[in-house]
Symmetry: C2
Subunit: 146 residues, 2 copies
Amino acid sequence: MSIIFSRECEYALQSVTYLARTKQGEKISIRELARTLKIPRHFLAKILQRLTRKGFLISAKGPTGGFALSMPAKDITLFHIVDAIDGLAFANSCVLGFRECSGKHPCAVHDQWGEIRDTLYEMLVSRNVSQMGAAMKKPEYEAAGN
Amino acid sequence: MSIIFSRECEYALQSVTYLARTKQGEKISIRELARTLKIPRHFLAKILQRLTRKGFLISAKGPTGGFALSMPAKDITLFHIVDAIDGLAFANSCVLGFRECSGKHPCAVHDQWGEIRDTLYEMLVSRNVSQMGAAMKKPEYEAAGN
DNA sequence: TTAATTTAAGACAAAACAGTCTGATATAAA
DNA sequence: TTTATATCAGACTGTTTTGTCTTAAATTAA
């Protein structure tokens, strides 16, 4: 079970982190990404295509083709990817599921969750993909299944 | 979309919070809970039965029957309910989905997420259902659908 | 030009999650 | 005892998420 991001979003974050570690101009194939990150290949293909349409990746067909970041890795934050794949519901929804939860009708943990949510938000906007790639100690990523 | 808890868990938390507001000895029917919290009736029934089997609620059949907390509301924490319904995967899983994420093989946001997770954990264990009920300003709960 | 390789696209399938329905069982009160 | 009302239990359905498969289109290199 994923925590707060969908599987798709987790895979997207893992993929862009991996791409951030490659040399400028280098293209990575779905095959390599899927094998390294242990992500189902065709599922990953759809995710990468989606990120391409959203403008974060560029793709090339044919032999020597593959995917690469479309912009400097430091210009892509985790927030960008989460927004593109899962949307921002996490930033606006009540953690207990109350529809009317707000400043006026706060649920019983409204304030505590607000702090947690703000910290999470801060984490997403402050971390760019370049830092992400650099922070990964090992190149052999092991992706979580379940 | 739910944030971190499943729908079922959100409904469970809402229900025990509501039950915590009732007088000692009073029983609440599924009908009343479902109507007030706007939860699908038969779905709620299954959730309440599950909480009953787990020992948090007592139930009585027949007219004047219904559900009530099986113990003082202050003895039930949010943590108890989340554990009973969703389990504790949130406390152990990598937020980016990496299987091997740990102190030795930390993912790029391992430490930041660790703080968030600990704060969340603290919120769940420190808040009991009695406080929850008392903190709800309005009795007319409005449950989130979507 | 042809063959091999890669992404693009969308239909399809499986699994997980959410919600519904029906009949059985228990209980209270008339 | 009968009737009405409530939970109990589990099968069933629908929806969303996750994952698979196939064909087309593009590109490189022989």
